[in-house]
Symmetry: C2
Subunit: 126 residues, 2 copies
């Protein structure tokens, strides 16, 4: 699968294959993409920590890859996964997109919290 | 809604609100975000053409905004839309993510074509 990386990275939309929920957006470099295919678990490149990052390595809430898709321009991926745990977001929600814009341009939380981050993360987030 | 733009842009995952299908990934600058909220139709910033781009301005297949969500890091958006037309992709598919990786690392088209791009686009793509 030919991919176009920009500044060494390609964005990956992560979608729960069963529910269709969009869980998060992450970035992969070629090494992370290779590790994702080889292990079957989503592995990103952390821009802030500048290293590979197996999603869920701390929380245990890993993302098992079910299908990888590429877009028409080959510069974005859609990875359909099975979420192994109650939530993908380090703030305790199933999806990182748990806040919606309201009609008055404010925002509100529109998803229930699924777990207590303080219980799950002792050291780092992932 | 406070947003973190990187190099002036924020990525927006576009999802069909009714079906849950992920249609595309686009980028917005602050001006495109403001235009999207003001008009109710997805307006991106085209990195290649370096200008605002109303999705569907040529094809007529516009994306009507139904809900805007922001992620935990405030550096990605999920916009749930109503697709006004047969397809979002300029190659004639409903979703730009119409190709999947096969087990032997090749790829194949896994979605039906919804329209003939040659009929729809006389000049530019959008």
């Amino acid at each position: 699968m030919e991919l176009k990386y920009q500044d060494g990275l390609i964005p990956a939309v992560i979608q729960d294959k069963a529910s269709g929920k969009v869980l998060m957006l992450g970035y992969m470099n070629p090494e992370a993409f290779e590790a994702t295919l080889r292990t079957g678990f989503m592995t990103f490149y952390s821009r802030s920590r500048q290293k590979l990052w197996v999603k869920g390595e701390t929380s245990g809430h890993k993302l098992l890859v079910r299908e990888v898709r590429v877009d028409c321009d080959r510069d974005a991926l859609l990875v359909r996964v099975e979420l192994r745990g109650p939530g993908c977001c380090h703030q305790g929600y199933e999806s990182c997109f748990f806040r919606a814009l309201t009609p008055d341009a404010e925002e509100k939380i529109v998803e229930p919290r699924r777990f207590d981050p303080a219980e799950v993360y002792k050291e780092n987030r992932s």
